[in-house]
Symmetry: C2
Subunit: 198 residues, 2 copies
DNA sequence: GAGTTCCTGTACCGAACGGTACATTTGTGT
DNA sequence: ACACAAATGTACCGTTCGGTACAGGAACTC
């Protein structure tokens, strides 16, 4: 019996659902759209997600949360080489958001009332991202308050870069802004690096 | 005959429409919602905006564009005291976006497919905002390339601050980020201020 | 005050919405 | 081969969607 490939197919539908929600938003992604995006009929969709669209979005958010935890948050939180950890975060984030062509679903959800049902998930996502960066900066000898401020600014900068790159339809905008955010953080690590010798 | 208060009522409905679109997004703002928000029946709505929701959104965008041109862009473009012009921009923007509680409709529209019909309006809005700031910084003796980069970063930072403040449900985040964006720009003006005496 | 023009609420349209029911297909364990 | 359960496609549910038609009401002209 075992898995009976039930969870497998449900899980494999999630990325397609995520992309559909990204493209059309929560309200704009009708069941027809979601059905076409996944290649699954309504029957299958409701078999996997009895709670309808809302459960689909929850699954997508859980998937995103898991990916970020593994690929972004944990490496930052456990970093031994802060500058390197920050560098690979920017690299991974650039790839993930496709240089700004791909939207941040969590950020978008927070912008209008359709995301109200997911408010705590949204808040936790950003709160953890910020504290992960801050924690990493502190390893790099940046004082806690400055680290938090810089982390906040970095996450905000990434979100802003997505909005702007989408609006201007120009990937280079995204790269320029992230490059500068990156050097701001590495500069901060460098600035406090020698001030407190062991 | 004259205006026959036709234009008056159409114009007076626009702010309510704008707020409804902000809250619910383009797809989420149904005619019922728009009707309640404006206090106008469907008949009146279609009398003023024969093109339906799309024309309503166009009117809203035109209104926003006009407000920003008058209150934000022109003052920047004509600034004689750059530092002061930048300061009042941040002040006005903070008030306009209600410390991040209020969403940037133009930015939101660009994030999903529902805004595709307004792509050029969206692009022009951000392009002009960036070049207005850049122009203002150049008056402050900042070199053109640096001015453009800083301007891009400022607009992006404002958009990111909105996303983050909404997600965290915390206005202070918005204020912190904007304060820092502000000082980055004034620092830039200060840095090049004395380097090129008349 | 009649005539005209604009405005507005109501009723209604077909289409699409989210969601359900169910018969059928598909796959698997024994 | 058989039985049984999961997965699926289809038809359908009531509701709401964006949009239209239109009759009556207000307001202005003459």
């Amino acid at each position: 019996m075992k898995t009976r490939r039930a969870l497998t197919d449900r899980a494999s539908a999630v990325p397609a659902l995520a992309e559909a929600f990204r493209e059309h938003g929560f309200e704009g992604a009708s069941l027809t759209v979601l059905s076409q995006a996944t290649g699954l009929g309504k029957g299958s969709l409701y078999n996997f997600f009895p709670g309808g669209k809302e459960e689909m979005m929850e699954a997508v958010l859980a998937d995103i949360d898991h990916w970020f935890a593994e690929s972004i948050f944990l490496p930052l939180e456990r970093a031994e080489d802060p500058a390197q950890a920050i560098a690979s975060m920017f690299e991974d984030v650039t790839a993930y958001f496709r240089s700004g062509r791909r939207v941040c679903l969590v950020g978008c959800l927070g912008l209008n009332t359709s995301g109200a049902a997911f408010a705590v998930t949204i808040r936790d996502y950003f709160a953890r991202w910020i504290s992960a960066i801050a924690q990493c900066l502190e390893v790099g000898k940046v004082p806690p308050d400055a680290a938090r401020q810089l982390a906040e600014e970095a996450v905000s900068g990434i979100q802003g870069a997505i909005v702007l790159a989408r609006a201007l339809e120009d990937e280079t905008t995204f790269h320029r802004i992230l490059r500068r955010q990156h050097s701001t953080l590495t500069d901060a690590i460098g600035a406090w690096a020698g001030s407190q010798a062991p």
